[in-house]
């Protein structure tokens, strides 16, 4: 390793690059722009007001009343992303003792004992979604619990149980359980790589990194696992307002 270390020791970023990096630091926000914008708005409003008062009054021509067709509100088209999943159930079935080259299946974490869970507030669960749990996730009937001691400002680790499905969700700043490097199928959604693995007949796992730098891991157990996984991807990655 001597020569490797010697080589790496010589590698450094250029002073120009470091300066650029230094200059990207966020600066304290100055309020002068806001005041300037407000002043400009006031001037504009005053100008429009003065023009309205001073313009000559015209008598509108008499018109027959017209029936105005109501314009139907644009229907919202809502398409969930179609996610791909590496099928681990197949590799498990096909692997034999001689088949040492087969990729190692992802072992799901062992379930925790009930005592290791604690209640979690709605606000904490809703935080990654901007303050409100999207209805599309179907968590309305779920009892949602947090892994004891694992919910804090930078990390959310919750599990939910409803009649026909259950889920585990982990959201953590800068971290991601890496299904992709373990062979998960990748689907690009809104420019983000979403890795998917089918762990069992009714167990689906996805992981991805949001553009804001939060690692997300979601495991759904239930018949409609792929759709529920897609709904979470949509809830976190779709451009706001969709």
């Amino acid at each position: 390793m001597k020569y490797y270390k010697q080589y790496m020791d010589r590698q450094a970023l250029s002073p120009e690059f470091l300066e650029k990096l230094q200059n990207r630091r966020p600066r304290p926000k100055s309020h002068w722009r806001q005041w300037a914008a407000l002043a400009a708005c006031c001037v504009l409003l005053a100008g429009v007001g003065a023009w309205t008062i001073s313009r000559p009054v015209k008598t509108p021509p008499v018109q027959m009343p017209q029936v105005v067709e109501p314009v139907p509100e644009k229907e919202k088209i809502f398409v969930l992303p179609q996610l791909a999943f590496r099928d681990n159930t197949v590799s498990k079935r096909d692997s034999t003792l001689d088949d040492v080259a087969a990729p190692a299946p992802l072992a799901p974490e062992p379930a925790l004992a009930p005592s290791q869970y604690e209640p979690v507030s709605q606000a904490q669960v809703a935080e990654p979604f901007g303050g409100e749990i999207p209805e599309i996730l179907g968590w309305g009937d779920c009892e949602i619990l947090s892994r004891a001691g694992e919910a804090d400002d930078s990390c959310l680790y919750v599990s939910g149980q409803a009649q026909d499905f259950s889920f585990d969700l982990a959201v953590q700043e800068g971290e991601i359980p890496d299904l992709a490097s373990e062979g998960g199928e990748i689907t690009q959604v809104c420019g983000v790589d979403v890795a998917g693995v089918k762990q069992a007949e009714d167990t689906y796992e996805i992981s991805f990194m949001t553009p804001e730098g939060s690692g997300v891991f979601y495991r759904v157990k239930g018949e409609d696992g792929p759709e529920r996984a897609s709904a979470l991807v949509w809830a976190l990655l779709a451009p706001k307002g969709d």
């Binding site: 390793m1 001597k2 020569y3 490797y4 270390k5 010697q6 080589y7 790496m8 010589r10 590698q11 450094a12 970023l13 690059f17 470091l18 650029k20 990096l21 230094q22 990207r24 630091r25 966020p26 400002d153 930078s154 700043e173 800068g174 971290e175 991601i176 359980p177 890496d178 992709a180 490097s181 990748i186 790589d193 990194m209 804001e212 730098g213 939060s214 690692g215």
Partner: protein, 145 residues
């Protein structure tokens, strides 16, 4: 730790992972942007947080179909045949394995710390290390750990 020191440390890790100076610079820049915008306020270990984000950045870049492979020693010249030989040997490993080697032997992280950075189990780090060691017997001759 100073920005310069941190940035250069991350740059070398990105070089080890990606083997491409331009991509390594981009990964460092994106990592710092994330740090400025998203880092939790009371980070216990900012260096580990930065490395974790950097590794994720590198991973994303490796998946990009547009990326172009350039031998690192062509872009950043070596000073002699021994350096080149070691680099060629190390860069014959898969990116995840050589990153583990880099973090362990160059950055002197423990296997537990590396597991935390890469978000894998310590056992995975140990198996990557032993797999890489088996392929790098000449390179690691005389190294402890």
């Amino acid at each position: 730790m100073q920005l310069q020191e941190q940035a250069n440390r991350l740059y070398r890790t990105a070089l080890a992972y990606l083997g491409n100076p331009q991509e390594a610079e981009d990964a460092v820049q994106d990592t710092f942007l994330k740090f400025y915008e998203k880092a939790p306020k009371n980070l216990d270990n900012p260096a580990a947080w930065l490395t974790r984000v950097l590794v994720n950045q590198c991973r994303d870049r490796l998946r990009s179909p547009q990326r172009r492979e350039v031998p690192l020693w062509d872009a950043l010249p070596v000073s002699g045949p021994e350096e080149r030989e070691e680099l060629e040997e190390l860069f014959s490993l898969p990116p995840e394995d050589r990153t583990v080697i880099h973090l362990f032997y160059y950055e002197n992280y423990t296997t537990e710390e590396i597991a935390n950075i890469l978000n894998v189990r310590p056992g995975t780090v140990r198996s990557r290390l032993s797999r890489a060691r088996a392929r790098l017997r000449t390179l690691l001759k005389g190294e402890s750990g």
